[in-house]
Structure formats: structure tokens, C-alpha cells
């Protein structure tokens, strides 16, 4: 379906989110919509799919002007959208999610629904168990489910908002193959992303947005520097992690067994030096989070020992509380920043107060105000002391989390440290982390971004299907080997 958006305007309060935006997408092509976070990309596609209404401007589908007021209108005119945070029902089964919103009789005909689901899923080699609970699927599988669902509703234009965030490398390959196939069938795809390499790999054309406006468009291939120039107005360089030179141990693990209601995971003996960075690779939900939570003192291991270097000597920490871990200089940055890391309705200054140990009843407002101001300055947070953290952008939330880490800091545990962050924030976050490492802080982080893992880790541990690999030095690691291991091929890979 040919799509034309002409002179679209949208304002949220004081922010002009879309300012005279026009976009042409031809049927049978994949069109990239590139830009930093907050550039107005999501706003634009949400207006096309009916999730928000535009202030002015026109939407033409195959030359016909349409009005989309609700997502249901969007589907009816053939436009479906995949959201960054999947809009599905985690506690329900895949099949229930698929059926929900489809027309049909009072009593659900599950058998024919399964048949229809499988017919579409097989076209794209998506393998999903229809009876599995959606909350237990990986982000990539939830995406696949949503694609199948939208296609079954007759969607002819598919919009994907940051679809490569949080999915594994193999799922990304499968997704790209599926999108190319859809384009070949004559469907039009709008691929919203802030990741240059994804757009360059997949798209036929690209439109770049910055600060609510279209700053340029181009056919692909196109020089990367030209796209970067359009996105930022200048060039950017990624930081490099220097090799670790220290030899003293920061954390020592002896045969840990951890688990939840889904799986048991065993981590062999492991000792991490101060200043070292350990990357945890693997499909999401393979035990990386359990491992991080255990190292943070949130989860108790079923068996095994955990020792942390505090004040120059290794102290046994197994079974101690999260607060004792914090006192030993262990900091944890969860991926879900607003739910687990920060408190939505509290200001930056109030977070400083919460962190500061105090015996008194009253809060020392001046002291906390100046600490918060310093933190905002040093961590370059775009906000004021009385800004609620819920109103900060993802990058600024992550900066706030970093600013709130305990001192002295011996070990930082991070889940997806740069998920959802724009390139500038990502670079900034890693610059900070590398500086901390040089001061002797060790880092363990899980990420689904293999490039991030290879670029910043000293050693990598792979989690796959309940198995945990020995740590592998990044120097001897290639991306393809890592990919194979994530797929479960551990044999011969255990040499560290």
C-alpha cells in the first residue's frame, strides 16, 4: 500500500512533537525512519496507526485521504503497528493473545485459530508454542506473535517501532528476513529506529528526523557519515575500553545454583578481578537476570558461595541481605528503570535523600539540594532537582541511576545498560562506566546487543537453555562463535 503523509503537525503541551512532517512510502519497500530519541518518529507513526490523533495534516493511503481516530480504524484501513513495549497480555497464552480482537462467534473455535496462526507463522519460520504463556516468551517471540496477529487481520502496512531493541541476534535475522519477504509480497514496511546499522542493513529508503522535523531522506546504500550528520548535525566517536591491568579479586563465586519457578541455573567457580568487565550474553530469560539478582543480594542462591571484596579483603556474602551487599559496595541497575530502579513520582532531590543514610527525622533540604545539583551537573542530567524522574527521558533516567550508585563502588551489576537510549547517551554511559573501571570498579552486565558485549567486556559468559559457559576472553571471541554459543553449541568452547 502506498502511504503519503503530508504536512503533519502535532503538539503535546509546550512541545511541538511533529512540525510540518511529510513522508512517502511506496508499496513493496521498507522505509527507515531514523532519528534520536525524542525526534518525533514514534509520534508520527502513532498518528498513522490511530493511537494518537493529529492536529493537522493529511494521510493518504493509495491516494485516498483517510481519517484514523482509533487503532481499530488503523487496522481497518490496513495499517498495523508493533510497539516498542509489546501491547499484549503477558499472563495469557499465545493463542488467547492471537484470538483477542479477532471477529468470531461467542464460543471460541480454538482449533481453527491454531491452524490459522500456524499457517502464517510457518511462512516466516516463526516457531512459537500456541499454548505457552506470553509472559514467558522472549521479546523477539512476542514480536513474532504480534506480527502474525496483525497479518492475520489483513494488514497491508506494517509499522515497527524500535523492533531490534531487546531481541537476540538470531531473532533479528529472522525478523529482517520476514520483513524482506513481506516487502516482496507488496506490503509496505515502516521501520522506526535509532540504530544506523539496522537501517542500513534492512531498508530501501530512509527518512531522518530531528527535533520534530524531517531533516532529509535518501535511498540506501548511502554514506554512513551523511546519515550521522543528518541525525546529530555532527560526528560521534565510540569510547574504547582499555585492557584491565589489575590482579586483585573483586568477586569470587564457588559453584552457585540459582533458580526460579521456571529454571535452575548452575554457575561454576568464577573469580572476577577489580576493574574487569564481564558481559553476560544469551537469549533473554536464560538466567542472566537471576545471576545478576543473586550477585546483588536480591535473590538467595539455593547452593554455593559468593564473596565480595570490600575494604581490601574478600568477605563471604552468601545469604546476606541486599542492604549488606550495598554496604559492601555492590550496586545494581535494573533494566526496568522506572519500576525497579527509580521511583516514578519522586524528584531527583528526593532520590538523593532516600539514598543518604540518616538517623534524624527531618530531611536536610539544603544539603540534599546541593548534592542533587552536583549530581545533575556531573552526570549531565537534563532536569532540575525538583523534576520527577518519571518525566525524564530514558537516557536521563539512566544517568540518574548512575548518579545514585553507592560509593565506594566495588561492583556494578547492570541489565541492558543502554536499552532504549539514544546513541549520545549510550556513549556517555559507557564513558562513565569505563572511568569507574579504571578506578577499580568491576562490572557485570547483561545485554542482548552483541556488539555492546564484544566492545566493552573483558570476558563473556554465555547463558543458553539452562547452561552457563565458562568465561571466554573477548580477545579470542568472534561474533559468529558467540552467536553459535547463544544457540546452545557449547562443545569445545569451554576454554577460557
Amino acid at each position: 500500500m502506498n502511504i503519503q503523509l503530508t504536512h503533519i503537525y502535532k503538539r503535546f503541551g509546550a512541545v511541538q512533537a511533529n512540525d510540518d512532517v511529510s513522508l512517502d512510502v511506496e508499496a513493496g519497500t521498507i522505509h527507515g525512519l531514523l532519528g534520536e530519541n525524542g525526534a518525533g518518529k514514534s509520534t508520527l507513526v502513532k498518528m498513522l496507526s490511530g493511537f494518537i490523533t493529529r492536529d493537522s495534516g493529511e494521510i493518504l493511503l493509495d491516494g485516498k485521504s483517510i481519517s484514523v481516530k482509533t487503532p481499530a480504524d488503523g487496522i481497518r484501513s490496513g495499517v498495523g503497528m508493533l510497539h516498542q513495549d509489546p501491547l499484549d497480555f503477558p499472563p495469557m497464552s499465545v493463542l488467547d493473545n492471537f484470538i483477542n480482537g479477532r471477529p468470531g462467534r461467542l464460543f471460541i473455535d480454538r482449533r481453527s485459530a491454531v491452524k490459522e496462526f500456524k499457517a502464517i507463522a510457518e511462512q516466516f519460520n516463526f516457531v512459537i508454542d500456541t499454548e505457552e504463556q506470553v509472559g514467558l516468551l522472549t521479546m523477539g517471540e512476542r514480536q513474532q506473535l504480534e506480527i502474525v496477529r496483525l497479518l492475520s487481520l489483513g494488514v497491508r502496512t506494517l509499522i515497527l517501532d524500535e523492533p531490534t531493541t531487546g531481541i537476540s541476534a538470531s531473532q533479528k535475522t529472522a525478523l529482517f528476513a520476514a520483513l524482506k519477504k513481506l516487502a516482496k509480497q507488496g506490503k509496505s514496511i515502516i521501520f522506526v529506529s535509532h540504530k544506523l546499522e539496522d537501517v542500513e542493513e534492512l531498508c530501501n529508503n530512509v527518512t531522518v528526523m530531528r527535533a520534530g522535523k524531517v531533516v532529509g531522506s535518501s535511498a540506501i546504500p548511502c554514506a554512513t557519515s551523511k546519515l550521522v550528520g543528518m541525525m546529530f548535525g555532527r560526528e560521534l566517536a565510540t569510547p574504547v575500553k582499555p585492557a584491565t591491568s589489575r590482579t586483585d579479586t573483586a568477586i569470587k563465586i564457588e559453584g552457585l545454583t540459582i533458580g526460579d519457578d521456571r529454571m535452575d541455573v548452575r554457575v561454576n567457580d568464577l573469580s572476577i578481578k577489580r576493574g574487569e568487565v564481564i558481559g553476560l550474553a544469551g537469549l533473554e530469560g536464560s538466567g542472566q537476570r537471576l545471576f545478576l539478582l543473586t550477585c546483588a543480594g536480591v535473590l538467595r542462591p539455593f547452593a554455593g558461595k559468593l564473596m565480595v571484596n570490600a575494604d581490601g579483603r574478600l568477605a563471604e556474602m552468601t545469604g546476606k541481605s541486599y542492604h549488606q551487599f550495598q554496604k559492601a559496595g555492590v550496586g545494581y541497575l535494573p533494566a526496568d528503570r522506572l519500576r525497579e530502579g527509580l521511583i516514578w513520582g519522586l524528584t531527583i532531590q528526593e532520590h538523593v535523600v532516600l539514598r543518604t543514610p540518616s538517623d534524624g527525622l527531618f530531611v536536610n533540604r539544603e544539603a540534599s539540594h546541593s548534592v542533587a545539583e552536583t549530581a545533575i551537573k556531573t552526570f549531565n542530567i537534563r532536569g532540575k532537582t525538583d523534576t520527577r524522574v518519571g518525566q525524564l527521558s530514558g537516557g536521563n533516567q539512566q544517568r540518574t541511576q548512575l548518579a545514585l550508585l553507592p560509593t565506594p563502588l566495588n561492583l556494578v551489576l547492570m541489565e541492558h545498560p543502554t536499552r532504549g537510549l539514544d546513541i549520545e547517551s549510550t556513549i556517555w554511559v559507557w564513558q562513565q562506566l569505563i572511568m569507574r573501571c579504571q578506578g577499580g570498579t568491576s562490572i557485570i552486565f547483561a545485554s542482548s546487543d552483541l556488539d555492546e558485549i564484544v566492545q566493552y567486556s573483558d570476558r563473556v559468559i554465555v547463558f543458553s537453555g539452562g547452561k552457563v559457559s565458562e568465561p571466554i576472553a573477548t580477545a579470542v571471541l568472534t561474533a559468529s562463535k558467540l552467536g553459535e554459543m547463544i544457540g546452545g553449541k557449547f562443545i569445545g568452547a569451554s576454554a577460557s
Binding site: P71, A72, P91, N100, G101, I108, G259, D261, R262, D264
Partner: protein
């Protein structure tokens, strides 16, 4: 204890639990749609009183049930309007209504305290009632009790086998996703809050026209609150909520037997005991110790057990839905 005694205890338990079944299932339906109707205690009292008064005036039990259902639905309409349209705190609205309706029932019901009135006639089912034990337990009751069995089954089928049932569960879980799939979240939340409220009303009438037969001040004291606990205990599943209601019925029934056989203990102990035991069971099934115990089991066994015992609340329960 011989068999006949046991049968009596269980039969009493079923009779005690019947109003609770209506209340717990009604509240389960409402909460599945994402709305907490915390006014249960007040709604049940007010509808028990009105139901009895109406049935007495018309000398017709059905009129009484209809009046009670309307009262229940009206109270829940206030909850729905405040929670969904005005987007106010559901907890505050429900709690205030619980207190208000309870006092209102005492005030308005004063003239009919302890006066005689119509009750639901017993209706044993021919042939089936002669089956030993089972007949006495299940087939010598009245139409209301049979209706409660039907309600459990119909609600379960509706929840898990029909399209609107799936939609009902989804609007309490992720209203934004349900809206994206073309559902009118607001209208459906109103509808299910009203249906749940009407069932709470019927629960009230079940007290005054059947189980307790008559009206006295605060006659149903505590049952509204326990119904809320049973909804949680039942994991927002109608079948398990019914099990919770019957479990509470058994506790009540045992307490009254114990009360008559052990005279040395104050009667208050026995009237409170079922509530305390109910809390204890809730604590036991949700406690950390269970996780530690289950961690010894292999994953394949652990997962179904945890899933059977614990059910998370609907994710959007009590939250305002903003449609933008």
C-alpha cells in the same frame, strides 16, 4: 464423629457458603475487568435489607431478589462512575460506600428488624434427593443454591471458553492493548462492574431471604470483607473462588459445632475463628517459606504447583485507563 454428623456439617457449610459464592463471583467479575468494588460489605447489607423489605411488601421472593440486585447495581454504578469516568481512587470510593451503605441499612432497616417475612421455599429434587449422602448434600436445597452451582459453571465457561470472556480478562490485564484491538474498554468496565454489583445484591438477598431468613442490624457482618479475601484466595478464578467460599463455609460450620460441644470457651472465639483461619491460609499460600520449600523440587514439578497456588492479580486492577 459419624457420617450423619459429617453430612450435617457439610450441608450447613454449603448453605453458609451460598451467599458468599454469589458475592465472590460477582466481585471476581468486577475485578477481572480492572475495577475494585470495595463496597462489598455495605452493598451486601443494604441489599439484604432492601431485598427483605421488598419481598415482604410484595409477598414475593423474586421481587425481593430483583430489588436487591438493583440496589447492588446502583451502588456499583457509583463506584464505576467515580472510578472510570471521574478517574478517582477506587479504594476511597469503595471504602466510603462500604461504611455509608452499612449505616444506611441499619437506619432504614430499623422498622423491619426481626419481623417475619417470606423465604425461598425448599425444593428437593425428586429421585436425586434419595441418593445416600450426596442427595442430602446437594439435592435437598432450594432454587437459590442450585442457581449458585449454575453460576459457578457458567462464569467459568464464560471466562475461559467464550470470546467476550477473553475480552473481559484482557481489559483488566492490559486495557491499552485491549483498546488497540478495537474494544470499548470503558463501556465494558461499566457493564462488568454493574453485573458484579448486581451479584453482590443477590448475595445480600440470599442472606435475608434464605440463609438467615429475616433482617437484623448488621446481620451479614463481616461477609462482605471475607468475600474480598476469597476473591484473592481464588486467584480471580470463579472455580477457585467458589472453593474458597465453601472452605470458609466449612470453617463456619465447624466453629458452630465446636461452640455447642465445648462450652468452656467463650463463643466469640468461635465466631472469629473462621476469619482468623482464612487469613492464615492466605498467608501460608503466599509466604516466602513456600518458595524455599518448593525450591527443592525439580522445575517441572515446581512450576505447575506455583501456578496452581498463586495467581497474580489482573495487572491493571484498580488503575485508571487513559484513552489517548
Amino acid at each position: 464423629m459419624d457420617l450423619s454428623q459429617l453430612v450435617i456439617i457439610l450441608a450447613t457449610a454449603i448453605a453458609t457458603a451460598t451467599p458468599l459464592v454469589f458475592a465472590a463471583i460477582g466481585e471476581t467479575i468486577t475485578e477481572r475487568a480492572g475495577v475494585i468494588n470495595l463496597s462489598t460489605e455495605g452493598t451486601i447489607l443494604l441489599s439484604a435489607m432492601t431485598g427483605f423489605a421488598a419481598a415482604r411488601a410484595a409477598n414475593n421472593v423474586l421481587v425481593g431478589f430483583a430489588a436487591a440486585a438493583i440496589v447492588g447495581a446502583l451502588v456499583s454504578l457509583i463506584v464505576a462512575f467515580g472510578a472510570i469516568t471521574l478517574k478517582q481512587s477506587q479504594i476511597a470510593i469503595g471504602f466510603v460506600l462500604a461504611l455509608l451503605c452499612a449505616d444506611l441499612s441499619s437506619f432504614l432497616g430499623n422498622p423491619i428488624v426481626l419481623v417475619p417475612g417470606p423465604t425461598v421455599p425448599s425444593m428437593p429434587i425428586p429421585l436425586l434427593q434419595d441418593i445416600p449422602v450426596l442427595g442430602r448434600l446437594f439435592f435437598q436445597s432450594d432454587l437459590l443454591v442450585y442457581a449458585s452451582y449454575l453460576l459457578i459453571a457458567v462464569t467459568w465457561v464464560f471466562f475461559y471458553r467464550t470470546r467476550p470472556g477473553l475480552l473481559l480478562r484482557s481489559i483488566g490485564e492490559q486495557p491499552a492493548a485491549a483498546f488497540a484491538r478495537g474494544n470499548n474498554v470503558i463501556r465494558m468496565r461499566y457493564l462488568y462492574t454493574l453485573i458484579g454489583g448486581a451479584l453482590l445484591g443477590i448475595a445480600g438477598a440470599a442472606f435475608s431471604l434464605d440463609f438467615k431468613a429475616g433482617w437484623s442490624n448488621r446481620a451479614t457482618a463481616g461477609y462482605g470483607w471475607i468475600a474480598l479475601a476469597i476473591v484473592i484466595f481464588g486467584g480471580w478464578n470463579p472455580l477457585r473462588a467458589a472453593v474458597g467460599a465453601y472452605f470458609f463455609g466449612v470453617l463456619q460450620s465447624l466453629a458452630s459445632v465446636a461452640q455447642s460441644s465445648i462450652q468452656s470457651v467463650p463463643t466469640q472465639v468461635f465466631s472469629v475463628a473462621p476469619f482468623v483461619l482464612m487469613i492464615l491460609v492466605l498467608v501460608l499460600t503466599s509466604g516466602q517459606w513456600l518458595d524455599n520449600l518448593l525450591s527443592r523440587l525439580p522445575v517441572e514439578v515446581r512450576r505447575p504447583i506455583l501456578r496452581a497456588i498463586r495467581a497474580p492479580a489482573p495487572a491493571a486492577l484498580g488503575k485508571v485507563f487513559e484513552q489517548d
